[in-house]
């Protein structure tokens, strides 16, 4: 489903060039729940951004369903992010002026759905993540866990091919983190492909596969369950 080939990402920092990803190659299959772990600075989030077309690799290629997406224009990448991917960011990343349901509706409206259709889908997505009430509340009126549920609902409302999650439990307490993880497992059981960055080994061990990064390279790729 998604394949990375020799991904290198480097930044210019002052006069020096810092390389974050050093030739990463790996593949995620349809329906897989993959977690990417590693120490801080190992390149987990950077890798997720490359896979999710939020950033361009310095070199290397990314294929989605065997289609090379590396050379897509910015407009085409935006369109692909809208239709094919879902994102859950570390700090919820909800738009503060939009209510919970409006945050979920915005990308649906962008896809050209009618207001009614977008609202129906948003309500369904919020139900799926266990947030049937408080949908008209603004983000600052919701708890961290509720905000993250809204963020997940926004990411899955349009049935994306792949769901990318960047440390989705980082700012949550243990109990809420487990609930969020349950929501991911529920989606996974329904067939959703998920790529999750986490620094919690306990949570990673609940996924199908753990890809460990160290200093911008894959040091281990461990399959925990068989996935067809």
């Amino acid at each position: 489903m998604i394949k990375a080939e020799q991904i290198i990402k480097s930044f210019k920092s002052g006069d020096t060039r810092v390389t974050i990803l050093r030739g990463i190659s790996f593949e995620v299959r349809k329906g897989e729940f993959v977690s990417i772990i590693g120490r801080s600075g190992s390149g987990k989030t950077t890798l997720l951004y490359q896979l999710g077309l939020l950033d361009r690799p310095t070199s290397g290629k990314i294929f989605i369903d065997s289609f090379d997406v590396t050379s897509l224009t910015e407009q085409e990448r935006t369109a692909m992010r809208l239709s094919e991917f879902g994102y859950v960011f570390q700090d919820y990343a909800l738009v503060p002026e939009l209510s919970a349901i409006e945050n979920v509706m915005a990308p649906l409206l962008m896809q050209g759905m009618s207001r009614h259709e977008a609202k129906t889908k948003a309500v369904q997505a919020l139900h799926r993540v266990g947030l049937p009430s408080r949908v008209n509340n603004l983000p600052n009126q919701l708890s961290g866990g509720e905000q993250q549920r809204v963020s997940i609902a926004r990411a899955i409302a349009h049935n994306p091919k792949i769901l990318f999650a960047d440390e989705p439990t980082a700012n949550l307490d243990h109990e809420t983190s487990l609930a969020i993880l349950d929501a991911f497992h529920e989606l996974h059981r329904a067939g959703q492909t998920i790529v999750m960055v986490t620094h919690e080994l306990d949570y990673a061990e609940q996924t199908d596969r753990i890809v460990t990064l160290f200093d911008g390279q894959v040091t281990e790729d461990k399959r925990l369950t068989t996935n067809n």
């Binding site: 992010r81 991917f85 962008m110």
Partner: protein, 427 residues
């Protein structure tokens, strides 16, 4: 471009507009009330700066023009031809004017150059000059003149002339030292003269000792440096027995076409005996020149105002976009077309400029313009009014709108062009 691709682009464009509107409405509705008030207040002040500053500048001169028209030339002003000492066939011209139904009142005037003297009975020291001032002296029909130009309303001291008054005059304030705010050899003035004072007036070789019955002050130099006699006495003083006058001010009924009236006079052949001018043609040339100059100055100040407005609005929206950079990045990240984000900012700009100009227009047209018209600003040489023609105001609103849209669009464009990850991570 294939039809499918074109159709996709068009539907994407409209979806972007729709999402832009969706975001803009909520951003305005849910942002701080004080922030909205502040931005609208800035837009209102920007509008006022564009309209009022140039309006007052032009109104300063327009006030002077209006005073000249109102108190001196009327709607049609008839004077002697350059090579003639007075208006020939004046009685025919006056009779014709009075026969026209759209003519409200006709005020003929005799005008001659003369000299006024004061304190002439005081013993002068050797070498000391007499207190005298060369001036124009007018003979008027007090009733017609008052109806035409409201001369009695310009009295600041004393009382107005009666048709049968004899040896009594009205004196313009600029001929009297106590009303002259400057001391210049070019403006000789009479000392210690007030209502009841006796002055000596010499005109056409005749000298009369007359009593000052009233003093007028109008901010129209042509009036403020004149002495007014009732026409009966004045006519005999200058020996004008043919009733030919030097000036005729004609007031018309409202909305009367001045050019048509002028043409009616010309059609009668009066153009051969007198110079017949409409209100605009009769405006003193220096006022016309100053009017053009102040119009130009007003346009320059407005241009600077537009430039300052553009920078102000740009800064407001740039700060707004910078503080929301992370969310703009997130919106892009989840696939919202940058056009939708730019559209949201442009629509917000539109909202602020709409309410800013609406409030500004209410202030200008509902309060400032009528108030200043009723209570003109007391400038030294004119009663300044606020000139805000609808056409130029609409033009200024359009300019402000365009400037605001560009100033709202550019910051959003700058931010949406940034790398998505950099925006999300605020780096």
């Amino acid at each position: 471009m294939s039809a499918k691709k074109l159709s996709y682009r068009i539907s994407n464009f409209f979806a972007a507009l729709r999402v832009g509107f969706f975001l803009a409405v909520r951003q305005v509705r849910r942002s701080s009330l004080w922030m909205n008030i502040l931005v609208i207040a800035i837009m209102t002040l920007t509008f006022l700066n564009l309209v009022v500053v140039s309006g007052v500048l032009v109104g300063l001169i327009q006030g002077a023009v209006r005073a000249v028209q109102e108190h001196y030339i009327g709607e049609i002003f008839i004077t002697n031809l350059k090579d003639k000492p007075y208006i020939e066939r004046s009685t025919n011209i006056i009779s014709f004017a009075e026969s026209l139904p759209s003519v409200r009142v006709v005020a003929p005037r005799y005008v001659e150059g003369g000299v006024a003297q004061s304190n002439y009975k005081k013993a002068k020291k050797s070498g000391e000059l007499r207190e005298e001032a060369g001036t124009l002296i007018s003979g008027i029909d007090p009733i017609a003149e008052d109806e035409a130009t409201g001369l009695s309303s310009l009295l600041i001291e004393g009382s107005y002339l009666e048709p049968d008054d004899f040896d009594q005059v009205l004196v313009g304030a600029l001929l009297l030292r106590q009303y002259l705010e400057f001391d210049s050899a070019a403006f000789p003035a009479l000392e210690d003269v007030g209502v009841g004072s006796k002055i000596r007036v010499t005109v056409a070789g005749n000298t009369r000792e007359v009593i000052v019955k009233g003093i007028i002050k109008s901010k129209v130099d042509e009036l403020d440096r004149r002495i007014f006699f009732p026409e009966k006495q004045f006519r005999s003083m200058i020996g004008r027995n043919d009733f030919n006058v030097d000036e005729i001010a004609i007031r018309l009924e409202p909305e009367t076409d001045q050019v048509a009236i002028k043409n009616a006079f010309l059609a009668q052949g009066f153009g051969d005996y007198a110079r017949i001018q409409t209100q605009t043609e009769a405006e003193p040339k220096f006022l016309q020149d100053i009017k053009k100059t102040f119009n130009l100055l007003g346009s320059m100040i407005s241009s600077i105002g537009v430039f300052v407005a553009a920078i102000t609005i740009f800064i407001i929206f740039f700060i707004n976009a910078i503080t929301r950079r992370k969310f703009i990045g997130i919106l892009k990240g989840i696939g919202i077309n940058p056009l939708a984000i730019e559209c949201a900012y442009v629509l917000q700009a539109l909202f602020y400029v709409f309410f800013g100009t609406l409030i500004g227009s209410v202030i200008v047209f509902g309060f400032l313009e009528p108030y200043i018209s009723a209570h003109p600003i007391n400038f030294p040489f004119s009663d300044g009014i606020l000139v805000v023609p609808l056409g130029s105001t609409i033009l200024r609103i359009a300019i402000l709108l365009v400037v605001t849209l560009v100033a709202g669009f550019l910051p959003a464009k700058i931010i949406t062009r940034q790398n998505t990850v950099d925006a999300i991570l605020n780096r």
